[in-house]
């Protein structure tokens, strides 16, 4: 036996242990602030003011949640966020699925150009659209409305439409073309083929895109803060930023962290359920790009 073959496995175990140490350390760095947010959301103000952030809450102050939900209007913000998210996803998916289907399965003049326009628009900085979109919405009298936000999110420079089109084109191209031929012979119309065959078949793709864009819209802040200045139309991220700004005058740490928790809970829940679609969809899209 030579030296190498004896040393190899041992060195491998040592290096595995070192790597594990770093992986565990990073897991702590990622998880601790998140767990800590939930813990701090249950502390009373005095406890936070002690300056011992790692102490566990002495008593669980669940009223921080009811406080922020009712008195700080996070209940309203939550429903605004919900309406805007559902609206944006429904609209962008309907628009993306139809366009992606035609771009993926039909030949026509201008097809390449149209495809290019959608894909190239992903390169445009969102910030460039900030000022013009603000005035566009005022012109359309949609400023300070949830409808305005829905339109900006689904088809504006924020980019969830091109992403959905790009992703779904790949999905429709992967479906066998015999499906349509068989359906045509059976007397199915073009609409029938789409709604009865292609749309149901693309459900996994629609779910992946829908979830990824839900995260984007639910978390979006900059457009929402520029396009709404009426507290009745605030979304959760806008509400958090306003609350943080007000902390200069009156400190309510517990409720602020309860606000952060309210923003995080739905996405963490969604991530736990759809973890596979989120990470899988991302890597599938990346491989094509």
């Amino acid at each position: 036996m030579n030296e190498l073959s004896i040393n190899r496995p041992r060195r491998r175990i040592v290096s595995k242990t070192i790597v594990r140490f770093f992986l565990l350390l990073w897991s702590a760095v990622v998880l601790y602030p998140v767990i800590w947010t939930f813990l701090t959301s249950l502390k009373d103000n005095q406890m936070v003011m002690l300056g011992k952030p790692w102490d566990l809450p002495s008593a669980l102050r669940f009223e921080n949640y009811s406080n922020v939900w009712n008195r700080a209007h996070f209940g309203d913000y939550f429903f605004n966020s919900l309406i805007v998210t559902v609206g944006s996803i429904a609209l962008s998916m309907a628009l993306a699925a139809t366009t992606a289907y035609i771009l993926a399965r039909f030949r026509f003049k201008g097809r390449g150009l149209l495809y290019f326009a959608y894909i190239a628009s992903m390169m445009i900085p969102t910030t460039l659209g900030l000022i013009p979109l603000f005035f566009l919405l005022s012109d359309l009298q949609l400023d300070n409305t949830l409808t305005g936000l829905v339109l900006v999110y689904s088809v504006g420079t924020i980019g969830i439409l091109p992403f959905a089109i790009f992703f779904l084109i790949g999905f429709y191209q992967s479906l066998p073309k015999e499906l349509e031929e068989a359906a045509t012979i059976d007397g199915c119309t073009d609409y029938g083929i789409f709604f009865r065959i292609m749309l149901p078949l693309s459900k996994p793709g629609l779910i992946t895109v829908g979830i990824m864009n839900t995260l984007t819209v639910w978390n979006e802040y900059i457009m929402a803060t520029v396009l709404t200045n009426n507290p009745e139309k605030y979304t959760v991220p806008v509400g958090i930023a306003i609350m943080q700004a007000e902390m200069q005058y009156r400190t309510e740490w517990g409720p602020l962290f309860a606000g952060l928790a309210i923003s995080m809970l739905p996405v963490i829940l969604m991530y736990m359920i759809y973890q596979r679609q989120i990470t899988g969809g991302l890597t599938a899209g990346a491989l094509k790009g």
Partner: protein
Amino acid sequence: MAAMTKKLRPASSWRRKLFMASFLLPTFVLFSVFTIYPLLRGLYLSFFDWSGGSETMSFIGMDNYKELFTDPIIPTAIANDYFLIFWKVILILLFAVFFAVALTRLKLKEYGFYRVVFFLPNIISVVVIGVLWSFIYNPSLGFLNAFLSLFTDTPVTTNWLGSAGSAIWSLLPPSVWAGIGFYMLLIIASILAIPSSLYEAASIDGAGEWKQFTTITMPLIWEQFKTSVIHITITTLNGSFIIVKLMTEGGPDNQTQVLGYYLYQMGFKQFHMSYGATIGVLILILSLLTTLILQRILHRETIEM
């Protein structure tokens, strides 16, 4: 694309054409109004002097662009943007590649756990991240000073976000913390696409892990690596100002000013809308130029597998 086109169905009858139009037009009309038109209007605005109010807009040609060159805040903002890009690219990709290689090559049992945990910050809103990290940096209550005070006799009261020297550096940890998971997943996907026979052959030849990393992994994930560098650059130029807005508001004394936040301030705080739009055009030009340059610098001959 060309091979694909042959298999596609032609638009033969008028009925078919009507069907296609009904599927394409609604999307394209809305996309034109909310994406293409704002872009053109942004460009158009940059040639005018306009506060955003109802009073007249006056055409001033290139004056807004000339102002960009004389405005002392613009160079600071550009420098800060590229400072963030530089360190984010290095730190995020260092961690992301290390984790991706560790998770794929060592075949750990807990692979799934790390994958799920490391991506977690990417699903959290940047607003939450900004508020959370502002509290971590809080001089009297925050986690960082409380932690450092464990090792000193007197409590540490460094004002991380408020001092000129440390403010811009303090913006890096939250950005890196939030960015790693996404790029790690992209790199994992491209490592998994490498045939394992290559690694087997290399280890029979006596190549160690490091040698395998430099001769097999890195060259074969290069395309994904390049895409990631460009993606970090664009998203930083475009989105870093949200963390700036939430954590420092560009301060102290414009020390952490970035282009995006300067645009926001000009437009929505100082009502100098047309100048704000001009900064938007500058951001677009910089992202296109930087992408082009990075494409050049990072170009390698693609390796056929």
